[in-house]
Each structure stands twice: as C-alpha cells, then as structure tokens.
Symmetry: C2
C-alpha cells in the first residue's frame, strides 16, 4: 500500500477533527477553516521528465527492464520531498518543483552499484528513498535533475544469528515488516519511532533514528553492528565485531550520513528476545521540572524503564494526540505533567524494574495514575501525523521540532525554544500553542520534542520560516544539538555546519569527495555544497 | 615518577621470578637464563638530535622557554617506542633507532596548536605522547625526524557537571590522578585497564581503550561525550549532546584516530557516583565453553556484573598473574576454568545483581568459588606487566594480543588463534604456552585476550614476528577484529587496512588530508602512508 501522497499514512485512517476542536482552535488560536483542500493528484501540473533516452536505457539495463525506471507523473509525485509540514503544504498546493526525473527500483546491492555508475556517467544526482518520511528536507537535493532510488524491492531478512542475537536486514524493509519477520524467529528489534508504520531500516540507519522505547532498546545507531554501503566508488563494508579498537568506528560515519556517502544496502542489527510482558502506565508530576528530575533519577541510577516520556504542562493539558479529549472535555482540566512509563521484558524482569522505578518515581513526587494513560498513549502512539493532516485540513498549522542536550542545559534550552517559537509566531500575528515532551533519556541528558499549533497565516510556508529559524538559533545558542532524531537534511544544514564546526564539515566533505567524487549522492543534503 | 625506561612501571616494584618458576619454565618450555641484562641507560649510544636550531627556537617560543623542548638523551630514550614486548626487547638491547629528535612539553591547547604550526613549517613529524604505554607500535612513526609531544603538563580536571554527571579532563592526566580528582568530588570514571597506573586520558580516547570493568562502566569510547582536538588546521570541537542525529557522530571519528588527525586536548566524559560497595568473586566452570555460555547469558539477559572475565583451562591452570601460585604449588592442580565476577555500586543494587547473576551462573553449570579468587585477581590486576619484565629477565618470551568477535564466531576464533600461535612458535623451535581469557562482554559478542610464553629463541624480536603475523592472519580469517582494545599503531596497520577495506582507508586518508595536509601527525600510524 502506498502512503497518502499529500499527507500521512493510510488514506483510510484519515479522520477530520470533531467540531468541538475546530471551535477551540478558532477561539484559542484564531484558526479559520480553509476554503481550498489539497489539489487532486491528477490535476497537478508535472513537468516532463528530464531523464535522457540514453540514461533511461542505461538505467533500465542496470535494473533488468524499464519497468523499474518509472517516469510517470504519479510515481514521481509520490517521491517528491518528504513529510515535514512545509513539504505537505507545498505538495497540497500542487507545488512539485522538487520532483525527481525518475524513480528507480533496484532489486539488490549490485543493481545499486550499477545505477550509481550510470548516474555518475550521466551526471544524474541520486536521492536514496526508503519510506519517504523525512521531516527535514532530506529528499529534496540542491540539483534540478535527479532520480529517486526507491529501495522497496530490497526487503528481505537476510540472516538471523541466534547465538549472537544479530539479524541482517535489507534497507527497504519497513519497520513493521522487519518486526514481523523477526517476531516469527522469536526476536524483536525494539525500534518504534513515530514513523514506524512507514519508515524503513535503511532510513533509520541513514538518519540515526531513535524510537519511543529507546530507554530500553537504545537508539537505532546503538543497535547497528554492521553496514554494507554501495558507493559510486564500490562497496564499503563495516562491522566485524560488536566493539573494536581497530581505528575510528567507521559504522558511525555511515550512520547519519543521510545518503550523502553511499546507499546503505544491508544493516546488521542487534535483536532481543520478544518480550513476554508489556505494560505502560501513567505518572503525574506537579511540574515539568519535577517530572524532569524524576526522569533524570531513573536515567542515571535506574532501574531503567523501556519507555520513559514526560509531557510539559501545555502538552498534558491539551493531550494533543487524542482529539476526542483535547481541552479536557469532561470539564476537569488535568493539572501538572503526565509521564508515560513503560516496561517490556520477561515477567520477572519487568516486575522487578517496575517495583524499583515506582519507588524512585514516588520519591521524586510522582503520583501513580494507573495504566489507563499509558495504554492510551500506546494505542495512539503512531497517530499524531494523522492528526496533523486533520489540523491542516481545518486551516491550522502544526509542526514539530526536536533537540537534545546535557541535563544541566535542559531547562534553559526548553525556555529558550518555547520563547523563540512563541515570539516569532506571535510577531507574525498567529500566536501559537507550544507543547513539549521529553521522550528519550540518557545518563547525561535528554531530548526535547516540541509541537507547535497556530493559525496558518496568509502564506503558511512563509509563515513558518522565521519561527523555525528562531527555534534553530535558540537551540544553537542554548547548547542543544540541532537534531536528536529527525536528522539534518537541508532544513538543518546550516546549523549542523555550525555545530560540526569548519573542521568537522571539512572532514565530512573530504569523506564525501573520496567516496562520491562526482558529487551525485544527495547533493546539498547534510553538508553544504562546496 | 617516571616509568622504568626499559620495562614496565615503578622500578621499585620489580620482582624477580622465584626459582621454582624458573625451574618450571626450563622444564616446560626450555627457557634458559640469559647472561645479559638490559643495557644501562647511560651506556646507550644516542644519536645527536636532528632538531635544527631554527626549529628549536621556534618551538621554545611556542612553549614559553627551552626548558620545555628537551633534547637530552634520557628524555629522548624515555620517549622511544612503547611497551610491547618487541619494544622492550629492542630498548633493552640499546636499540634506539626510533628515537625522537626532541620531547616537547606543552602547557595547554593553544601551545599545542602553536607547536603544530611550527612543526608543519619545519616539516617535523609529531607523535602525541601520553603514558607511553602503546603495545602496538603507536609511538614509532615511519619518519626518521620527529618530536614526541608529551602531554603530562596538561593534567587538570577542568570541569565537573554534577547534574549531567560529566567531567572535562585534560589529556595528560594519568588514570589514577583523574580517578583521585573525581573521587574527591564523589564520582568515578570507572575505567581500569591493565595500563591504568600509567596510561592517560588522552591515550584512552585516542586508542579506544577498554577497562577491566567494562561490563559495568562501558568502554572508554562509550564514556566520551565531547572532545577538543588541536589540528594543524585549527581547533576541532565535538559533542553538544549525549546523543544526536545531527550527522555522523564525529566523536567516533576522533576516538581511535591514534593521533593521526590531531592532538586531543580535552575530553568530556560520563562519570558515575563512587560505588559504596565492591565485591569480586570466583566461579569455576567445567570448561571454557561452559564458562563462555554463562558469560553470554549474563551479557545478553543480565543481570550484568561490573567485572566479568573467564580464563581458559591453560590460564586457569597457570594462574599467570600470581607467580607464587604458578603450577598449583600446593600439588592440587585446579581443573576447569575460573571466572572472576565483580559487582560495584550501591549496596542494594550490588546485592540484587549479585543474587540474580548467581542464579544464572549456577544454572549454567558454575560452581561458586568464594571471594578469595576474586579478591586475589583484584589485588594483582595491574601486575602482569611486571611479571613480563621478570620473565624477560629470566630468558623467557612473553607477549599478549587480543581480538573480539560476535558470539557465534568466538569458538572458531579461539581455536584458530591458539593453533596459529602454537604452530608458528613450535615451528620456530620454541613451543609456547598459550593462555586466553574473555575480559569484555557485549550482548552480541566478546573479546579474547591471549598471553603467550615461550623460550626467546636466538633473536627474540625476529622469533616473535612470524607468530604475531600468523595470529593476525588467523584473527582476520576467523572473522575477528584485529584489536579489541590495544589499537592499530603500526603493528596492526596492514590488517586494519584489510578490515576497514579500501573505501574505509580512503575515507580515513581523506579526513587526515583535510586536517593535517602536511602529514606531520603520526605518519604511518593507523593508516598506511599514501
């Protein structure tokens, strides 16, 4: 099944906002319904493919037939940009400026190598495409002529090593497919980001993804033990042991490279036994600060839950992911901050950690809120992007951004980003609701994930730009990283360059020049063009 | 205090072998006492320093005086090579072929930057020098004219962030100094490699060190959160957050770079509260295979001890680190394999993990051997290099090497390396004792650490070369990494190049060319000269 071309997910799951919420949006934020809906797919004016006949022939030769070199309008529209709100606003308006010349569907590593050789010859840029879920402009290169390399046919589980608890997966496997294949062998990957239903293994690796159960299962980059990469200069393999002192860890150079160095064609990951037990519960804290202290206590001294997330006061009040409950429809607005704490594992281990964490949470001022808030979160955990579509339909603007920092910097970072977003959008005449949660914790720090809802303004894309810019500046000034798990893409590139510093950028450019001398791979993504 | 120039550690701690052991070495391995001891320090024929007067002046200008540009014979001898057995055999024989032209003692980051500029101008190679404990040829560049950059004056604890539990340390801090400074603040680094008493923070980072308590505290590269590096092209800073999706993790490019990209001038690390309790105990297993299964069970399903190591049958029988007990002097030779299992932490946490691990170890066929073997290990944990000196004095050859692999490959790797070492040294007429232990475990694999003892042969350095070569080939063929924690240096360079592959080497060379265009930093170490 294909994702909704103009929004998120399974078109059958789209649900409009209830009238009460539309009323609230109007009263709180001045949101007025839009007259115009998204353009119709077949009405979009798609420019002719710029793929030359010679390149088409050569690519068809690599891919075993022209069936795997698609130049039809729908295929190309479906591979135009990603799923950030500006991406959606543009595509809904029929703007396909960043459309690929063709969509290629390779069946394996050797076909990818062959495609990269042909594209080097024909000076065609190549954008590797997994689930297409980038929210940072990771699929819109700074080159007018490019092809999308869709890896969906490379969707096999290649190997399971039950003794070492590793599995080797092809990059085009969507997370639920990968999970199902591993579950059948008694294992889980444990990687459940919000993009879970659509994103792919290759994309997780390329973008250093982190899932909602990262407290227990780790980040995706911590799960990866080996990678095979097809580059214009040949095959690059990394990972002979879980850990090594044989030079810098080159896996970590591939992870986060966002397709700029090569195309990831297989990923060997750590897997874990399927948990016998899963339980999610709610805890209420008097303030975000108190809740943060509680999360820090668990992250630093344990026991470590599998899922650990805390909404700030605004997000708790709004309960964004559950439109039927927005604004506390029972009249009793919840006070304080809600945390979701989850445990997965064997029955004994889960019980032990749960009992231990309970003591820590109580000592930190938490109040147990039962399993209902946790189970509700678990049911709706992949729903927020659907809600965004409904908000856009209703004339509202909604977007997310995220960062991470050391614990001591977290309060300042939180305040600075809220202030930056609030000021910029208020100045634009569309005062926003700014919500935040912590969803990934480490011994030494945590992530902050912001959701912004406002009216759209006259030009919704232009309206967001100064706010996003202000947030990026605030993150950088307050000592946060420009992305905890969304990645760099083109949207964060300039701030990433500041974070990496001139010598960090020089090192990355040098690697790219060595592996992709013609500069065909994702030009302008991750690192600025030279 | 300076380390023994011709061997290991504090000269006052040197202890000759007991006569019973000398007798055993003779009877078992044909070791015959050597007539000649090490050369005397003042008898070594040291070539004149090749440092030009102009370079000397310029370097003295960078370093605030010529007191910090040392060209005397003793300083230079003390910075000649590292502490591998071939290194010791060469220096004991008075071979100072790899002697630096001068020893520089910078006081801070800016002085290091200035030194690198001057050395670039004067085409002087630079070898960063911490504790001088490399056992892989990491201090002997492929350049006849070089200076050693000794970082001992950069030995401050720069910052402790108690909330985030991080500390920023200068690179020249020796581990015990760093530990004492952190202990005074209530924290521990938890990094206790065998080189602990002499090795430095900068060296740990440059070489991706791993300590004896890695099961609990992690590897050094897992502790590092930020790095400042002085390069010939300027300052490179990494690490704004514990984890990030802002591009590849550039910290991991510095870690393991072995001085080839720049000089690490500060390291921000994760610290942990000083443990209230430390307990080490012994467990006996019927075989190395059974013990390995037990370690794997703990590594994969927990609870995770802080220290977890298992000696094979030969190492258990010999008890190498305890010369007074070698060969079971009480007549009752111990059978099977001994594991040391240690716990550090709060009293409650330690008790909980100990009780849980006990069940796992019993179920895996382990027999509890009390605390005595664990405490004995803890007392002698830094003594093995002293024993090596005594063995060399007694005319024996002793060396170690190590690797790591995924669990499923470990038995094959173990057998292949043992066989390679045994065959090569038997062919050379000096049949060895080959011992092994597992000392670092991960969910997906573990390390293997081999100790070899034999007679020296006529030319002890030449005698070891084919055996080391055979072991490296066996490691590579059996799917191990060429080093789990010793590093690459010059000794493992060719095998590292095969492990990284042509594109991995190309990427590293590209980074080096970007940061060190004149190629002055550790030429020939880590990556082959272009």
């Amino acid at each position: 099944m294909d994702m909704l071309w103009s929004g998120w997910g399974d078109p059958a799951k789209a649900a409009p906002l209830p009238d009460t919420v539309i009323g609230l949006l109007r009263d709180l934020l001045g949101v007025t319904p839009r007259e115009d809906g998204p353009a119709a797919l077949d009405e979009i004016a798609v420019p002719e493919s710029t793929l030359t006949a010679a390149a088409h022939r050569a690519l068809a030769g690599c891919l075993g037939g022209s069936a795997y070199v698609r130049t039809d309008a729908e295929s190309r529209i479906r591979h135009t940009r990603g799923k950030s709100t500006p991406d959606l606003l543009r595509i809904r308006a029929g703007d396909v400026d960043d459309i690929p010349a063709a969509v290629l569907l390779p069946a394996g590593h050797d076909e990818v190598l062959a495609v990269l050789r042909v594209c080097t010859e024909h000076q065609l840029a190549v954008v590797p495409f997994g689930g297409g879920t980038s929210v940072v402009g990771g699929l819109a290169p700074e080159r007018s002529r490019f092809v999308a390399l869709d890896l969906r046919r490379m969707d096999a589980l290649l190997d399971v090593d039950e003794v070492s608890r590793t599995a080797t997966l092809q990059p085009g496997l969507r997370a639920p497919q990968a999970e199902a294949l591993l579950n059948a062998r008694g294992f889980t990957l444990g990687h459940f980001p919000q993009s879970y239903e659509w994103a792919t293994i290759g994309g997780f690796a390329a973008a250093r993804s982190s899932g909602q159960a990262s407290a227990g299962y780790g980040r995706f980059d911590e799960m990866v033990l080996g990678l095979t990469v097809a580059t214009p200069e040949g095959t690059w393999e990394t990972g002979r042991a879980p850990r090594s002192a044989a030079g810098p860890d080159l896996r970590q150079l591939v992870l986060g490279s966002e397709g700029a160095f090569g195309v990831i064609t297989s990923v060997t990951v750590r897997v874990r036994p399927l948990p016998a037990t899963r339980v999610y519960e709610g805890w209420r804290f008097p303030s975000f600060e108190a809740g943060t202290r509680a999360l820090r206590a668990l992250a630093q001294d344990g026991p470590r839950p599998t899922v650990l997330r805390l909404s700030d006061e605004t997000e708790t009040f709004i309960g964004l992911a559950h439109p039927d409950r927005i604004g506390g429809t029972d009249g009793a607005a919840p006070a304080g901050c809600m945390a979701v704490v989850g445990y997965e594992g064997t029955e004994a281990d889960t019980a032990l950690r749960r009992a231990g964490a309970r003591e820590v949470l109580l000592a930190a001022g938490g109040e147990y809120a039962g399993e209902e808030p946790g189970e509700r979160w678990a049911r709706g955990r992949y729903d927020a992007p659907y809600l965004r579509d409904a908000l856009l339909d209703a004339g509202a603007f909604a977007e997310t951004l995220e960062t991470a920092a050391f614990w001591s910097r977290l309060p300042g970072l939180y305040a600075a980003v809220r202030e930056a977003l609030t000021s910029a959008l208020t100045d634009a005449g569309t005062p926003p609701l700014v919500m935040c949660h912590i969803s990934h914790v480490y011994e030494n720090g945590a992530s902050l994930y912001f959701t912004v809802v406002s009216a759209q303004g006259d030009d919704p894309v232009a309206h967001w730009e100064p706010a996003k810019h202000a947030a990026n500046e605030a993150i950088t000034a307050a000592g946060g990283t420009i992305s905890h798990h969304h990645g760099v893409g083109t949207d964060h590139r300039d701030w990433f360059a500041r974070e990496a510093g001139p010598l960090g950028v020089r090192a990355l450019r040098a690697v790219k020049a060595g592996l992709d001398p013609a500069g065909i791979l994702n030009p302008g993504i991750l690192i600025p063009l030279p």
